[in-house]
């Protein structure tokens, strides 16, 4: 008898616009899930091509965070993702931390490849809440705990 394939669990991808989003889109495309996930990102350049997405003000300005947190919370509670993926910055912190606490979601964090030598703020905060934690430069491994893994770089490939 043919084994019945189970349905894809809902995946939410949360990250800041710009390079974080470019990396996220490379990742979801490489995973073959780019059209099957829900995105949360900053309002701006992405809102006319990302179909299934929530938008916040964001874009690295901390003063937007008090307005953005309720929106991020609303989106994750409404969508109830089983898996949350982030490639970084404030928005990703909020989604991963709250997703872990409230929804017990599985969480995947990939440190942005812009972080070559020093851990990012997002990475440091998110680390205890991430089930899977990747850095994109091998020397960064020693700045994090045992959970951190290196598995290549989304710009340069294997370096």
């Amino acid at each position: 008898m043919e084994k019945k394939k189970k349905a894809q669990k809902k995946i939410m991808c949360a990250c800041q616009a710009g390079g974080h989003l470019t990396e996220m889109l490379i990742l979801t495309k490489s995973l073959g899930i780019e059209d099957k996930v829900v995105y949360i990102t900053d309002k701006g350049t992405a809102d006319n091509f990302l179909k299934n997405a929530y938008f916040v003000k964001g874009t690295g300005k901390l003063r937007n965070l008090p307005f953005d947190i309720p929106k991020i919370l609303y989106s994750i509670i409404k969508e109830r993702p089983k898996i949350i993926i982030s490639t970084g910055a404030e928005l990703g912190i909020v989604a991963i931390v709250f997703g872990k606490i409230f929804l017990r979601a599985k969480t995947i964090y990939i440190e942005c490849s812009a972080q070559v030598k020093k851990p990012s703020y997002s990475g440091r905060i998110v680390y205890p809440f991430a089930d899977i934690f990747f850095v994109q430069w091998e020397p960064l491994l020693k700045k994090y705990g045992k959970k951190a893994k290196y598995g290549g770089n989304l710009i340069l490939g294997d370096v």
Partner: protein
């Protein structure tokens, strides 16, 4: 005529050092300029095709048509350059000029420099005009873009998701 596309990313720190310089030298260079100046405090006066932000489609079109990309050292632009095999002149935003909150743009530029013949890095904009002219006429090899699907990072995440889907 050769085409040059200038972009300084999505970050809110102004990069007027580069935008102003390019606006001032553009007329002396035999190329058509398109510029996305983002959050620059300086708005180009001389370059006609200047935009705060292009929408994604238009951005990709201009990027695709360009013979040379001039950019801050941002991840997004770098990925596009490598994937689309373009010549790129990187000018990292620097902390000492108040252009970013740290110097990660220089760190990543140093890592990429030397690995890709089609990517050049300059830190100061004084010699930009010569640099552009030289680079435009130079013949370079474009390395194959990396096969992202084969990375351990992607494979591990894929198997993690597949595994979750089986639960």
């Amino acid at each position: 005529m050769k085409k040059i596309f200038v972009t300084v990313g999505n970050d809110y720190h102004s990069f007027h050092r580069l935008i102003e310089k390019i606006d001032n030298i553009a007329s002396k260079i035999d190329a058509e300029f398109v510029i996305q100046y983002g959050y620059s405090d300086y708005i180009p006066k001389n370059i006609k095709q200047s935009h705060k932000f292009l929408d994604r489609e238009e951005y990709n079109k201009k990027f695709g048509e360009a013979d040379l990309i001039i950019s801050h050292s941002g991840i997004g632009t770098m990925i596009d350059t490598i994937q689309k095999k373009k010549k790129m002149l990187l000018v990292p935003k620097q902390y000492k000029y108040g252009e970013h909150f740290n110097d990660h743009q220089s760190e990543i530029a140093e890592e990429v420099k030397g690995k890709y013949e089609n990517i050049k890095v300059i830190y100061e904009v004084d010699g930009l005009e010569n640099e552009i002219n030289r680079f435009l006429s130079e013949k370079v090899d474009y390395p194959e873009p990396p096969d992202i699907k084969s990375l351990k990072l992607v494979k591990d995440i894929k198997s993690f998701i597949d595994n979750e889907n089986q639960k």
